[in-house]
Amino acid sequence: MNFTLRVWRQAGPGTPGKMVEYKATGISPEASFLEMMDVVNEQLTLKGEEPIAFDHDCREGICGSCAMMIDGMAHGPNKGTATCQLHMRSFADGATILVEPWRVRAFPVVKDLCVDRSALDRIIAAGGFITAATGGARDANDILVPKVAADLAMDAAACIGCGACAAACPNGSASLFTAAKITHLAELPQGQPERFRRVIAMVAHHDAEGFGGCTFHGECQIACPKEISIDTIAHMNRDYMSATAASREEKAAGGTG
Protein backbone atom coordinates (compact mmCIF):
# COMPACT_ATOMS: atom_id res chain seq x y z
CA MET A 1 0.00 0.00 0.00
CA ASN A 2 1.10 3.57 -0.64
CA PHE A 3 0.28 6.62 1.39
CA THR A 4 1.02 10.31 1.45
CA LEU A 5 1.78 11.50 4.97
CA ARG A 6 1.57 15.07 6.15
CA VAL A 7 3.40 15.15 9.46
CA TRP A 8 4.01 17.92 11.97
CA ARG A 9 7.75 18.62 12.17
CA GLN A 10 9.11 20.76 14.97
CA ALA A 11 12.78 20.81 15.95
CA GLY A 12 12.27 21.51 19.63
CA PRO A 13 10.10 23.10 22.31
CA GLY A 14 9.06 26.64 21.48
CA THR A 15 10.46 26.55 17.95
CA PRO A 16 8.11 27.04 15.00
CA GLY A 17 6.93 23.86 13.27
CA LYS A 18 5.12 23.00 10.07
CA MET A 19 3.36 20.16 8.27
CA VAL A 20 5.79 18.32 5.94
CA GLU A 21 4.76 15.85 3.25
CA TYR A 22 6.31 12.37 3.00
CA LYS A 23 5.64 9.35 0.78
CA ALA A 24 5.16 5.98 2.45
CA THR A 25 5.53 3.34 -0.27
CA GLY A 26 5.36 -0.44 -0.24
CA ILE A 27 3.63 -0.61 3.15
CA SER A 28 2.10 -3.94 4.19
CA PRO A 29 -1.62 -3.76 5.03
CA GLU A 30 -0.72 -5.77 8.15
CA ALA A 31 1.73 -3.12 9.35
CA SER A 32 0.69 -1.13 12.37
CA PHE A 33 0.69 2.65 12.10
CA LEU A 34 3.90 2.77 14.11
CA GLU A 35 5.56 0.18 11.86
CA MET A 36 4.59 2.30 8.86
CA MET A 37 6.23 5.27 10.61
CA ASP A 38 9.33 3.09 11.20
CA VAL A 39 9.55 2.35 7.46
CA VAL A 40 9.26 6.04 6.64
CA ASN A 41 11.91 6.88 9.25
CA GLU A 42 14.32 4.27 7.85
CA GLN A 43 13.94 5.81 4.41
CA LEU A 44 14.51 9.28 5.88
CA THR A 45 17.63 8.08 7.71
CA LEU A 46 19.03 6.51 4.52
CA LYS A 47 18.47 9.80 2.73
CA GLY A 48 20.36 11.54 5.54
CA GLU A 49 17.28 13.37 6.81
CA GLU A 50 16.17 13.67 10.43
CA PRO A 51 13.67 10.87 11.26
CA ILE A 52 10.27 11.81 12.66
CA ALA A 53 10.32 11.71 16.45
CA PHE A 54 7.32 9.95 18.01
CA ASP A 55 6.65 8.30 21.35
CA HIS A 56 6.17 4.54 21.49
CA ASP A 57 7.00 1.75 23.86
CA CYS A 58 5.04 -1.46 24.36
CA ARG A 59 3.30 -1.49 20.95
CA GLU A 60 0.52 -3.64 22.37
CA GLY A 61 -1.87 -1.01 23.63
CA ILE A 62 -1.03 -1.00 27.32
CA CYS A 63 1.64 1.65 27.88
CA GLY A 64 -0.12 4.71 26.49
CA SER A 65 2.98 6.18 24.87
CA CYS A 66 1.96 6.35 21.21
CA ALA A 67 0.23 9.70 21.15
CA MET A 68 -0.76 10.85 17.67
CA MET A 69 -3.63 12.77 16.16
CA ILE A 70 -4.26 10.81 12.95
CA ASP A 71 -6.51 12.47 10.36
CA GLY A 72 -7.91 14.65 13.13
CA MET A 73 -8.74 11.73 15.44
CA ALA A 74 -6.79 10.75 18.56
CA HIS A 75 -5.22 7.31 17.95
CA GLY A 76 -6.83 7.28 14.52
CA PRO A 77 -10.30 6.28 13.34
CA ASN A 78 -10.77 2.91 15.09
CA LYS A 79 -12.57 2.53 18.39
CA GLY A 80 -10.87 1.21 21.51
CA THR A 81 -7.37 1.08 20.06
CA ALA A 82 -4.13 2.96 20.61
CA THR A 83 -2.06 4.09 17.60
CA CYS A 84 0.07 0.93 17.87
CA GLN A 85 -3.06 -1.21 17.43
CA LEU A 86 -4.16 0.68 14.33
CA HIS A 87 -3.28 -1.17 11.13
CA MET A 88 -2.72 0.28 7.69
CA ARG A 89 -5.54 -1.86 6.27
CA SER A 90 -7.85 0.61 8.04
CA PHE A 91 -6.87 3.21 5.42
CA ALA A 92 -7.61 3.36 1.71
CA ASP A 93 -4.64 2.72 -0.59
CA GLY A 94 -3.22 6.02 -1.78
CA ALA A 95 -4.80 7.97 1.10
CA THR A 96 -3.31 11.19 2.43
CA ILE A 97 -2.95 10.93 6.21
CA LEU A 98 -2.39 13.88 8.52
CA VAL A 99 -0.36 13.21 11.65
CA GLU A 100 -0.20 15.83 14.40
CA PRO A 101 0.90 15.90 18.03
CA TRP A 102 -1.62 16.26 20.88
CA ARG A 103 -2.62 19.92 20.95
CA VAL A 104 -3.16 20.93 24.55
CA ARG A 105 -1.49 23.77 26.41
CA ALA A 106 -0.61 21.40 29.27
CA PHE A 107 1.17 19.07 26.79
CA PRO A 108 3.97 21.19 25.27
CA VAL A 109 5.57 19.76 22.13
CA VAL A 110 9.04 18.35 22.85
CA LYS A 111 9.87 17.44 19.26
CA ASP A 112 7.79 16.57 16.17
CA LEU A 113 5.01 14.31 17.51
CA CYS A 114 6.43 13.95 21.04
CA VAL A 115 4.66 15.93 23.72
CA ASP A 116 5.43 16.28 27.42
CA ARG A 117 2.57 14.58 29.25
CA SER A 118 4.00 14.91 32.76
CA ALA A 119 1.02 17.15 33.60
CA LEU A 120 -0.94 13.88 33.97
CA ASP A 121 1.71 12.52 36.36
CA ARG A 122 1.41 15.66 38.45
CA ILE A 123 -2.39 15.21 38.68
CA ILE A 124 -1.71 11.70 40.03
CA ALA A 125 0.91 13.07 42.44
CA ALA A 126 -1.69 15.53 43.76
CA GLY A 127 -3.88 12.72 45.09
CA GLY A 128 -4.24 9.75 42.76
CA PHE A 129 -2.82 7.28 45.23
CA ILE A 130 -3.65 5.50 48.46
CA THR A 131 -1.69 5.62 51.66
CA ALA A 132 -0.90 2.05 52.64
CA ALA A 133 0.89 0.48 55.58
CA THR A 134 4.08 -1.28 54.67
CA GLY A 135 4.82 -4.81 55.76
CA GLY A 136 4.02 -8.24 54.49
CA ALA A 137 1.67 -8.46 51.54
CA ARG A 138 -1.87 -9.37 52.55
CA ASP A 139 -3.82 -12.16 50.95
CA ALA A 140 -5.38 -11.06 47.69
CA ASN A 141 -8.96 -11.62 48.82
CA ASP A 142 -8.46 -10.33 52.34
CA ILE A 143 -10.54 -7.21 51.71
CA LEU A 144 -14.00 -7.86 50.35
CA VAL A 145 -14.99 -5.76 47.34
CA PRO A 146 -18.55 -5.90 45.98
CA LYS A 147 -18.72 -7.24 42.42
CA VAL A 148 -20.26 -4.06 40.97
CA ALA A 149 -17.67 -1.85 42.65
CA ALA A 150 -14.87 -4.11 41.46
CA ASP A 151 -16.17 -3.91 37.87
CA LEU A 152 -16.54 -0.12 37.94
CA ALA A 153 -13.10 0.29 39.50
CA MET A 154 -11.47 -2.05 36.98
CA ASP A 155 -13.14 -0.34 34.02
CA ALA A 156 -11.82 3.01 35.24
CA ALA A 157 -8.41 1.56 36.12
CA ALA A 158 -7.96 0.53 32.48
CA CYS A 159 -6.77 4.12 31.85
CA ILE A 160 -3.24 4.05 30.45
CA GLY A 161 -2.70 7.81 30.77
CA CYS A 162 -2.12 8.37 27.05
CA GLY A 163 -3.74 11.80 27.07
CA ALA A 164 -6.05 11.10 24.11
CA CYS A 165 -9.02 12.39 26.12
CA ALA A 166 -7.47 15.83 26.51
CA ALA A 167 -6.21 15.78 22.91
CA ALA A 168 -9.67 14.94 21.55
CA CYS A 169 -11.60 17.26 23.87
CA PRO A 170 -12.77 20.44 22.11
CA ASN A 171 -12.13 22.17 25.45
CA GLY A 172 -8.70 20.62 26.02
CA SER A 173 -9.96 19.03 29.23
CA ALA A 174 -8.33 16.06 30.91
CA SER A 175 -11.53 15.38 32.87
CA LEU A 176 -11.79 11.80 31.64
CA PHE A 177 -8.27 10.98 32.81
CA THR A 178 -8.78 12.66 36.19
CA ALA A 179 -12.23 11.14 36.62
CA ALA A 180 -11.02 7.64 35.70
CA LYS A 181 -8.33 7.79 38.38
CA ILE A 182 -10.77 9.20 40.95
CA THR A 183 -13.47 6.63 40.13
CA HIS A 184 -10.98 3.77 40.23
CA LEU A 185 -9.92 4.60 43.80
CA ALA A 186 -13.30 5.87 45.05
CA GLU A 187 -15.01 2.56 44.22
CA LEU A 188 -12.56 0.47 46.24
CA PRO A 189 -12.29 0.10 50.01
CA GLN A 190 -8.61 1.06 49.84
CA GLY A 191 -9.54 4.43 48.37
CA GLN A 192 -12.02 5.45 51.07
CA PRO A 193 -9.73 7.02 53.74
CA GLU A 194 -8.62 9.76 51.32
CA ARG A 195 -11.65 9.83 49.02
CA PHE A 196 -12.82 13.42 49.40
CA ARG A 197 -9.50 15.19 49.88
CA ARG A 198 -8.33 13.25 46.81
CA VAL A 199 -11.06 14.59 44.54
CA ILE A 200 -10.50 18.17 45.72
CA ALA A 201 -6.73 17.95 45.22
CA MET A 202 -6.85 16.22 41.84
CA VAL A 203 -9.51 18.54 40.35
CA ALA A 204 -7.59 21.58 41.63
CA HIS A 205 -4.42 20.28 40.05
CA HIS A 206 -6.16 19.38 36.79
CA ASP A 207 -7.24 23.04 36.56
CA ALA A 208 -3.84 24.37 37.65
CA GLU A 209 -2.16 22.53 34.78
CA GLY A 210 -4.25 24.59 32.36
CA PHE A 211 -6.67 21.92 31.14
CA GLY A 212 -10.17 23.06 30.20
CA GLY A 213 -13.51 22.03 31.66
CA CYS A 214 -15.89 19.27 30.64
CA THR A 215 -18.95 20.11 28.54
CA PHE A 216 -19.86 16.49 27.78
CA HIS A 217 -19.22 16.55 24.06
CA GLY A 218 -18.29 12.88 24.54
CA GLU A 219 -15.25 13.11 22.24
CA CYS A 220 -12.98 11.72 24.98
CA GLN A 221 -14.75 8.40 25.42
CA ILE A 222 -14.73 7.81 21.65
CA ALA A 223 -11.00 8.63 21.50
CA CYS A 224 -10.10 6.61 24.61
CA PRO A 225 -8.21 3.44 23.62
CA LYS A 226 -9.60 1.80 26.76
CA GLU A 227 -13.18 2.96 26.10
CA ILE A 228 -13.54 4.57 29.52
CA SER A 229 -17.03 6.03 29.92
CA ILE A 230 -17.80 9.68 30.62
CA ASP A 231 -19.88 8.24 33.46
CA THR A 232 -16.62 8.44 35.42
CA ILE A 233 -16.85 12.24 35.04
CA ALA A 234 -20.33 12.18 36.58
CA HIS A 235 -18.84 10.09 39.40
CA MET A 236 -16.03 12.64 39.87
CA ASN A 237 -18.52 15.51 39.96
CA ARG A 238 -20.65 13.71 42.54
CA ASP A 239 -17.68 13.14 44.83
CA TYR A 240 -16.58 16.72 44.21
CA MET A 241 -19.97 18.05 45.29
CA SER A 242 -19.87 15.87 48.40
CA ALA A 243 -16.37 17.08 49.22
CA THR A 244 -16.94 20.80 48.62
CA ALA A 245 -20.60 21.81 48.68
CA ALA A 246 -21.45 19.37 51.47
CA SER A 247 -17.97 19.45 53.09
CA ARG A 248 -18.09 15.70 53.49
CA GLU A 249 -15.20 14.11 55.31
CA GLU A 250 -14.09 10.53 54.99
CA LYS A 251 -15.85 8.29 57.47
CA ALA A 252 -16.09 4.91 55.82
CA ALA A 253 -13.54 2.41 56.98
CA GLY A 254 -11.12 1.47 54.26
CA GLY A 255 -8.66 -1.31 53.74
CA THR A 256 -4.93 -0.99 53.67
CA GLY A 257 -4.25 -2.96 50.52
Binding site: D231, N237, A245
Partner: protein, 219 residues
Protein backbone atom coordinates in the same frame (compact mmCIF):
# COMPACT_ATOMS: atom_id res chain seq x y z
CA UNK B 1 -19.17 24.47 52.24
CA UNK B 2 -15.68 24.91 50.84
CA UNK B 3 -16.81 27.84 48.72
CA UNK B 4 -13.53 29.29 47.38
CA UNK B 5 -12.36 25.85 46.19
CA UNK B 6 -15.75 25.04 44.73
CA UNK B 7 -16.31 28.22 42.73
CA UNK B 8 -12.72 28.39 41.47
CA UNK B 9 -12.72 24.92 39.92
CA UNK B 10 -13.96 23.91 36.48
CA UNK B 11 -16.11 21.22 38.11
CA UNK B 12 -17.66 23.73 40.54
CA UNK B 13 -18.44 26.14 37.72
CA UNK B 14 -20.10 23.32 35.73
CA UNK B 15 -22.25 22.47 38.74
CA UNK B 16 -23.27 26.13 39.00
CA UNK B 17 -24.18 26.02 35.29
CA UNK B 18 -26.15 22.81 35.73
CA UNK B 19 -28.16 24.02 38.74
CA UNK B 20 -28.87 27.46 37.28
CA UNK B 21 -29.70 25.88 33.92
CA UNK B 22 -32.19 23.46 35.45
CA UNK B 23 -33.85 26.32 37.38
CA UNK B 24 -34.33 28.14 34.07
CA UNK B 25 -35.65 24.98 32.41
CA UNK B 26 -38.24 24.74 35.18
CA UNK B 27 -39.27 28.34 34.50
CA UNK B 28 -39.39 27.76 30.74
CA UNK B 29 -41.85 24.88 31.23
CA UNK B 30 -44.10 27.09 33.41
CA UNK B 31 -43.83 29.90 30.85
CA UNK B 32 -44.80 27.54 28.05
CA UNK B 33 -47.83 26.28 29.98
CA UNK B 34 -48.86 29.91 30.54
CA UNK B 35 -48.47 30.78 26.86
CA UNK B 36 -50.59 27.88 25.67
CA UNK B 37 -53.61 29.50 27.32
CA UNK B 38 -53.74 31.76 24.28
CA UNK B 39 -55.65 28.92 22.59
CA UNK B 40 -58.36 29.18 25.23
CA UNK B 41 -59.18 32.76 24.32
CA UNK B 42 -58.52 36.31 25.42
CA UNK B 43 -60.37 36.09 28.74
CA UNK B 44 -58.38 33.11 29.97
CA UNK B 45 -54.97 34.54 29.09
CA UNK B 46 -55.71 38.02 30.39
CA UNK B 47 -57.12 36.60 33.64
CA UNK B 48 -53.94 34.59 34.08
CA UNK B 49 -51.86 37.70 33.46
CA UNK B 50 -53.94 39.71 35.92
CA UNK B 51 -53.47 36.95 38.50
CA UNK B 52 -49.69 37.02 38.07
CA UNK B 53 -49.53 40.79 38.36
CA UNK B 54 -52.17 41.00 41.11
CA UNK B 55 -52.53 38.38 43.85
CA UNK B 56 -49.34 36.54 42.85
CA UNK B 57 -47.33 39.73 42.42
CA UNK B 58 -44.93 39.06 45.29
CA UNK B 59 -44.36 35.48 44.22
CA UNK B 60 -43.73 36.75 40.71
CA UNK B 61 -41.00 39.08 41.92
CA UNK B 62 -39.47 36.30 44.03
CA UNK B 63 -39.42 34.10 40.92
CA UNK B 64 -37.93 36.92 38.87
CA UNK B 65 -35.19 37.44 41.47
CA UNK B 66 -34.33 33.72 41.43
CA UNK B 67 -34.27 33.74 37.64
CA UNK B 68 -32.06 36.82 37.42
CA UNK B 69 -29.59 35.26 39.87
CA UNK B 70 -29.68 31.96 37.93
CA UNK B 71 -29.16 33.76 34.63
CA UNK B 72 -26.23 35.80 35.94
CA UNK B 73 -24.63 32.70 37.51
CA UNK B 74 -25.14 30.77 34.26
CA UNK B 75 -23.70 33.48 32.01
CA UNK B 76 -20.76 34.33 34.27
CA UNK B 77 -19.78 30.66 34.66
CA UNK B 78 -20.17 30.07 30.93
CA UNK B 79 -17.95 33.05 30.18
CA UNK B 80 -15.28 31.97 32.68
CA UNK B 81 -15.28 28.38 31.43
CA UNK B 82 -15.10 29.55 27.81
CA UNK B 83 -11.99 31.61 28.63
CA UNK B 84 -10.41 28.61 30.42
CA UNK B 85 -11.34 26.20 27.61
CA UNK B 86 -10.06 28.48 24.85
CA UNK B 87 -6.76 28.92 26.69
CA UNK B 88 -6.38 25.15 27.06
CA UNK B 89 -5.68 24.74 23.33
CA UNK B 90 -3.60 27.68 22.09
CA UNK B 91 -2.45 25.86 18.91
CA UNK B 92 -5.37 24.42 16.92
CA UNK B 93 -5.24 21.20 14.92
CA UNK B 94 -4.66 21.45 11.17
CA UNK B 95 -7.39 18.83 10.84
CA UNK B 96 -9.91 17.78 13.47
CA UNK B 97 -12.55 15.16 12.80
CA UNK B 98 -15.17 15.23 15.55
CA UNK B 99 -16.58 11.78 16.31
CA UNK B 100 -19.12 12.28 19.08
CA UNK B 101 -19.91 15.97 19.52
CA UNK B 102 -23.42 16.86 18.35
CA UNK B 103 -24.59 20.03 16.62
CA UNK B 104 -26.22 20.85 19.95
CA UNK B 105 -23.06 20.39 22.01
CA UNK B 106 -20.98 22.42 19.56
CA UNK B 107 -23.44 25.32 19.46
CA UNK B 108 -23.90 25.69 23.23
CA UNK B 109 -21.86 28.90 23.40
CA UNK B 110 -23.11 30.66 20.28
CA UNK B 111 -26.63 29.39 21.02
CA UNK B 112 -26.32 30.74 24.56
CA UNK B 113 -25.39 34.17 23.21
CA UNK B 114 -28.36 34.05 20.82
CA UNK B 115 -30.67 33.17 23.72
CA UNK B 116 -29.25 35.93 25.91
CA UNK B 117 -29.93 38.50 23.18
CA UNK B 118 -33.38 37.02 22.71
CA UNK B 119 -34.15 37.20 26.44
CA UNK B 120 -33.23 40.90 26.50
CA UNK B 121 -35.31 41.64 23.39
CA UNK B 122 -38.22 39.55 24.67
CA UNK B 123 -38.32 41.39 28.02
CA UNK B 124 -38.07 44.75 26.24
CA UNK B 125 -40.88 43.61 23.97
CA UNK B 126 -43.62 42.06 26.12
CA UNK B 127 -42.61 42.85 29.71
CA UNK B 128 -41.50 46.47 29.64
CA UNK B 129 -43.07 47.24 26.23
CA UNK B 130 -40.06 49.42 25.38
CA UNK B 131 -39.92 47.88 21.94
CA UNK B 132 -43.27 48.04 20.21
CA UNK B 133 -43.19 46.44 16.77
CA UNK B 134 -46.97 46.81 16.99
CA UNK B 135 -48.75 49.11 19.47
CA UNK B 136 -48.95 47.27 22.82
CA UNK B 137 -51.34 47.98 25.68
CA UNK B 138 -50.75 47.27 29.36
CA UNK B 139 -52.79 44.38 30.69
CA UNK B 140 -54.14 43.20 27.36
CA UNK B 141 -51.68 40.36 26.87
CA UNK B 142 -53.86 38.57 24.36
CA UNK B 143 -54.15 41.51 21.96
CA UNK B 144 -50.44 42.26 22.38
CA UNK B 145 -49.57 38.71 21.37
CA UNK B 146 -51.89 38.78 18.36
CA UNK B 147 -50.70 42.20 17.18
CA UNK B 148 -47.00 41.33 17.54
CA UNK B 149 -47.02 37.93 15.88
CA UNK B 150 -48.99 39.15 12.88
CA UNK B 151 -45.70 40.84 11.89
CA UNK B 152 -43.63 38.39 9.87
CA UNK B 153 -40.21 39.34 11.21
CA UNK B 154 -41.31 39.22 14.84
CA UNK B 155 -42.64 35.69 14.33
CA UNK B 156 -39.49 34.72 12.47
CA UNK B 157 -37.28 36.10 15.26
CA UNK B 158 -39.18 34.11 17.88
CA UNK B 159 -39.16 30.94 15.78
CA UNK B 160 -35.37 31.20 15.29
CA UNK B 161 -34.85 31.84 19.01
CA UNK B 162 -36.91 28.75 19.86
CA UNK B 163 -34.77 26.60 17.55
CA UNK B 164 -31.73 27.90 19.45
CA UNK B 165 -33.53 27.07 22.71
CA UNK B 166 -34.32 23.52 21.59
CA UNK B 167 -30.71 22.79 20.67
CA UNK B 168 -29.43 24.42 23.87
CA UNK B 169 -31.83 22.35 25.97
CA UNK B 170 -31.17 19.09 24.14
CA UNK B 171 -27.51 19.19 25.13
CA UNK B 172 -27.98 21.20 28.32
CA UNK B 173 -30.61 18.94 29.89
CA UNK B 174 -28.55 15.82 29.26
CA UNK B 175 -25.24 17.37 30.16
CA UNK B 176 -26.44 19.10 33.32
CA UNK B 177 -27.73 15.95 35.01
CA UNK B 178 -24.36 14.35 34.27
CA UNK B 179 -22.56 17.40 35.66
CA UNK B 180 -24.64 16.80 38.78
CA UNK B 181 -23.31 13.28 39.04
CA UNK B 182 -26.06 11.14 37.51
CA UNK B 183 -24.66 8.15 35.62
CA UNK B 184 -26.67 6.29 33.03
CA UNK B 185 -24.10 4.08 31.37
CA UNK B 186 -24.76 5.07 27.76
CA UNK B 187 -21.96 5.10 25.26
CA UNK B 188 -24.10 6.29 22.36
CA UNK B 189 -23.92 10.09 22.40
CA UNK B 190 -27.13 10.49 20.38
CA UNK B 191 -29.38 8.33 22.51
CA UNK B 192 -30.85 10.68 25.07
CA UNK B 193 -34.59 9.94 25.15
CA UNK B 194 -35.55 12.22 28.06
CA UNK B 195 -33.51 15.19 26.84
CA UNK B 196 -34.76 15.00 23.27
CA UNK B 197 -38.40 14.52 24.33
CA UNK B 198 -38.34 17.47 26.72
CA UNK B 199 -36.45 19.66 24.24
CA UNK B 200 -39.00 18.81 21.53
CA UNK B 201 -42.01 19.45 23.76
CA UNK B 202 -40.60 22.81 24.85
CA UNK B 203 -39.71 23.75 21.26
CA UNK B 204 -43.16 22.78 19.96
CA UNK B 205 -45.02 24.38 22.86
CA UNK B 206 -43.37 27.75 22.32
CA UNK B 207 -43.22 27.75 18.52
CA UNK B 208 -46.89 26.90 18.04
CA UNK B 209 -48.06 30.22 19.55
CA UNK B 210 -46.41 32.76 17.19
CA UNK B 211 -46.90 30.45 14.19
CA UNK B 212 -50.59 29.91 14.95
CA UNK B 213 -51.12 33.64 15.41
CA UNK B 214 -49.26 34.47 12.22
CA UNK B 215 -51.39 32.08 10.17
CA UNK B 216 -54.61 33.44 11.74
CA UNK B 217 -55.39 30.22 13.55
CA UNK B 218 -55.84 32.37 16.65
CA UNK B 219 -57.63 35.71 16.41
Amino acid sequence: MRAPTFFASTVGKKIVMAVSGLIMVGFVILHMAGNLQVFEGAARLNTYSAFLHGPAGEALWLLRAILIIALIAHVVSAYQLTVIDRAARPVPYVKRELQAATVASRTMRIGGVVLLIFIVLHILHFTTRTLQPAPLAEGDVYDNVIASFRIWWVTLLYVIAMIALAYHLYHGLWSSVRSLGVERGRLNPFRRPVAITLAFIIWAGFTIVPVAVYFHLVS
